[in-house]
């Protein structure tokens, strides 16, 4: 009875003030996900949680933004030749970025100040790897997607260790994106990434760069 009342109150997002939403969420039922008044990220319980979650979202947003720019660079060079697989991957990345934009705006998360760097660096990386040919572009894709998947996996582990039920929606989003990135990685391998010139060197240098980018975006 009380739960029904709270479910009902949770379904009037426009009239119920945010503070009241938080009060009603304190006795939410774990299985009724649609009754939650937020979409992905639960309202933080304290400053530490808020900072940790915001940092996660910030670096994910930066990652998707960078990936978009890498694909844009690749398309700028190879756009007129091998358009098929590349276009599909870039479209998915655009969707990821749109989703993170939405999450950031909803939760008032500050985007990383290094975005202009990732803009230029991503485009340059994509364009220069594409200049090495189709294999070069695929090698770059493999390296970047592997880094991103690893990063998402560590985030999923952290959230699961913390409280999987509380972050259920956020975990779903990250898992879905991680699966997409793994698909891109596999697509890259399928299209002869490993036969790119200096594949081992290229892959490790790019992955090192990605790690540095993730480290920096978490802090700035």
């Amino acid at each position: 009875m009380q739960r029904a009342a709270h479910v009902a109150s949770c379904s009037w997002p426009q009239i119920v003030k945010p503070a009241m939403i938080r009060h009603s969420l304190k006795c939410r039922a774990p299985l009724q996900h649609s009754s939650r008044a937020y979409s992905v990220v639960p309202p933080p319980r304290d400053d530490d949680e808020r900072d940790a979650v915001h940092r996660m979202l910030r670096v994910d947003h930066a990652g998707e933004y960078g990936a978009n720019r890498i694909y844009a660079g690749q398309m700028a060079v190879l756009g007129r030749s091998r358009t098929g697989p590349l276009i599909q991957m870039w479209d998915q990345e655009k969707k990821h970025l749109a989703k993170f934009n939405e999450i950031l705006a909803e939760n008032r998360v500050r985007p990383t100040a290094l975005l202009p760097f990732w803009n230029i660096a991503g485009f340059v990386l994509g364009a220069s790897s594409a200049l090495l040919g189709k294999e070069g572009a695929m090698a770059c894709t493999v390296a970047v997607e592997e880094s991103i998947s690893e990063h998402y996996n560590s985030q999923i582990r952290a959230l699961m260790e913390n409280d999987p039920e509380r972050y259920f929606e956020l975990l779903q989003v990250i898992k879905e994106f991680r699966d997409d990135e793994m698909d891109h990685h596999d697509t890259g391998l399928e299209h002869e990434a490993e036969s790119a010139p200096g594949y081992w060197l290229l892959k490790n240098v790019i992955q090192l760069g990605c790690k540095a980018a993730i480290y920096a975006s978490q802090r700035v």
């Binding site: 426009q14 009239i15 003030k17 947003h61 993170f100 934009n101 950031l104 705006a105 008032r108 500050r110 985007p111 100040a113 975005l115 202009p116």
Partner: protein
Amino acid sequence: MAALLRGLRAGRVLRGLSSVIAAPTTTNPQLSSLRRGFRCAALRLQDESKSDKSTSFSSSSSSSSSTTTHHEHYQANSAEHNSEAASQHDFDPSAAEGTKISDQEQDTEYETEEQLHARILAAALEFVPQHGWSMEAIAAGAESLDLSSASTGMFTNGAGDLVLHFIAQCNANLTEILAEQHNQVQQGQVEPKKTAEFLKDAVETRLRMYIPYIETWPQAMSILLLPHNIPDSLKHLSTMVDDIWYYAGDRSTDMNWYTKRAALTGIFNTTELVMLQDSSPDFQDTWSFLDNRVQDVVNMATTAKQVQATGEAVVQGLMGAAVTLKNLTGLNQRR
């Protein structure tokens, strides 16, 4: 004999007080101010001559103070069991929860240190026009709450604590006002304002909170610029600017997030400085300065967009020219 009567009255007041103290988690503001009033009355029962002062300290509402005196008066004139019934009768039905005396007898001091801090600083604000933003004002505030002026020892940052508390209070008020306006817009009662007008109104509302302290505000600003206060004052400034932009409808997630907030910080700081020098009636000059600055920022944003659009058009034109040249010279043909 008189002392005995006073002692009896004090005892009845205490028991009556504890009987109407509801559960600690109530958020009824009238009730919480009543509780504060009662607790202070309990602290002061040592000195009967000061009991009149209990009606005048700033943190309680006038209604609570009048009910305190009324309550004390009533207590003095009636027997104990009547007083409890009457005390329940006197106050709202929401206060009538405190019907059990026995487990409330132990409740005396359960105010946290932060609440005490806040109370003393709030009381100290009244003495700022007189003493400036200083430890004297805090000491005067503590004394007005009938706490020892040595309690200023817990303010390790001195005047900085007072100024930062005031800033935080102003920001909280502003956020409340903006949230209320936002709700009204969402419920369709009011038309949403354009960005420039919204920013102007928000900054004006916020700066008007300084008007009662405008004489001493330069001192407050210099206190905020002290190195150990800079991180806190920057934090308050940035959260205020973020709040204003959020309620203005900004949901950007790129560099615009930073440029907008930087622009608004600039507007706010310069307008604050102008306000200090302003001597026009109701600070008219300040508001027109604010208006011009907001207009400048909006114009700059429009210009930036136009420049970008022009740049893109130019690039496209150049690409078109290059392709035409390639076609003309035959470089585009596959052989």
